[in-house]
Amino acid sequence: MEVFLQQLINGITLGSIYGLIAIGYTMVFGIIGMVNFAHGDVFMVSAFIAVITFLLLTTWLGIGSIAVVLMICLVSAMVLTSIWNWAIERIAYRPLRGSFRLAPLISAIGMSIFLSNFVQVAQGPRNKPVTPMLRDVITLVKSDTYDVTISYKQIMIWAVTAVLLFGFWYLVQKTSLGRAQRACEQDRKMASLLGIDVDRTISLTFVMGAALAAVAGVMYMVYYGVVSFSDGFTPGVKAFTAAVLGGIGSLPGAVIGGLLIGLIEVFWSAYFTIDYKDVAAFSILVIVLIFMPQGILGKPEVEKV
């Protein structure tokens, strides 16, 4: 029981990170029907931006307050990653709009390879560690053999994820910007007939997806304390799996899918063997694609003709 509780806490933490990345996949798919394979690498770039900012602030400027440092890391990663993703869309995807369906997909794979190689060359192939932070734990359940704990960084990851998801939900559901975004998702041509600049809205979608991936990137740095140029691929594909599992195109689905993938991975590692945790996660992708291709929350409503 204690082990189960502990893994539940760990799984939700990992799942939050996957969920944040999955939103970027699902939003881009929703609006232009394209799987943005470079999104995982955008996440990796954001983690590097966070590490660089973190090192600049702590070693060069000597700022001691971890809260201030993380706040600045978060903001700078969100802003810079958004600019990156905005530029990627302009350079690699927009010129191919109206081309055949596979063209932007191939371009995205190229962009993914470019990003990981660029970071490898620019930052070096070795892992970049940061000093461990927020390591204190709160003991929730005490027993003779096993203490269930939650660390400060896990609490922080939960809190930041919850707050930003709420803010994001508010933006999409309640503001005119979000309404225009949803309109483009449902009928791009009609949105333009109503005076909505569709290209601008698509750019905005990439910016929003990148900002959330950057939040995930900062959380990843805090949680694992180390990033590498190759860190985009596996979390990226897992987040994509999460988006498919939740029902691609559905925002709440992406979050639910992320949490499920996180939990499956963590429980598998705890109860079976850690070597096969990725196999477990990706088997889900295969099973979902075969038996439930619409996902958990995909296309729920009945539409009259």
Partner: protein, 241 residues
């Protein structure tokens, strides 16, 4: 006569290599109701979309309110206060009725949203009952009302309606045509209407055009076209009810 609000001259539109409009000329003056009738596939809806630059005309010129809009992006054309209720209605299915109407007011920055909302709700009381229902769950007639109401939310000078009577019960058609007449009379709104329901459309309109295979073959006042033998034979016989 003053400069027409909308001028279409020699417009040719292609889908790939297939020609859909073979050189269309027409004028719509301010305050008029103009209709265009024609069979399926004649190019009526293509003309409506070509006016909005989606697809753009390959040849010819479209001038609206003194501005050449032939090569303008679609969303910029929409911002010139010309609104369309398009073929197939194109309601946003996963948005509520209210959100659909808010989308219609998007270019207006919501300056007089409540006032306009009251106006369309009094025009179509059905919609106020359904305000918080998703667009995709409305009946065909309600969706048509919503499509027109959405177009009205931007306070257009000119309203383009593509087959507003398609698939609707006669009573609903009458309701919608009454609403169009009322908008024209009370606010002087210019209306360009594409219809297969030739009898009602020609009775409503000041002037009309007949389109056959991407070309305008006849034009005249609504009364003249209603009286014309050719129009009667092709579009009215057996359908005048």
């Amino acid at each position: 006569m003053t400069e027409p609000l909308l001028t279409v001259r020699g417009v040719k539109t292609y889908y790939g290599n297939i020609i859909a409009l073979k050189g269309v000329d027409l004028d719509v003056h301010e305050g008029e109701i103009v209709t265009m009738i024609g069979a399926n596939g004649a190019g009526k809806s293509t003309l409506m979309m070509t006016i909005f630059g989606a697809p753009q005309a390959r040849e010819g010129r479209i001038v609206y309110a003194g501005t050449d809009i032939t090569r303008m992006p679609t969303h910029m054309i929409a911002r010139m206060r010309i609104a369309q209720s398009p073929e197939g209605r194109r309601i946003f299915p996963r948005m509520t009725v209210l959100e659909n109407l808010q989308m219609g007011a998007a270019i207006d920055e919501f300056a007089h949203f409540d006032e306009d909302l009251n106006q369309v709700f009094s025009l179509f009381p059905r919609l106020s009952e359904r305000a918080h229902q998703r667009g995709g769950t409305l009946s065909g007639g309600e969706q048509q009302m919503l499509a027109i109401a959405r177009a009205l939310m931007s306070r257009p000078k000119m309203l383009l309606l593509d087959e507003p009577s398609l698939g609707l019960a006669p009573l609903v058609v009458k309701q919608i045509f009454d609403a169009i007449r009322e908008l024209n009379r009370s606010q002087g709104m210019t209306v360009f209407l594409v219809e297969q329901n030739a009898f009602h459309a020609l009775k409503l309109a000041h002037r009309g055009y007949v389109m056959v295979n991407g070309l305008i073959t006849m034009s005249g006042t609504g009364k003249e076209l209603l009286a014309s033998e050719e129009v009667r034979a092709a579009y009215l016989e057996g359908g005048a009810h």
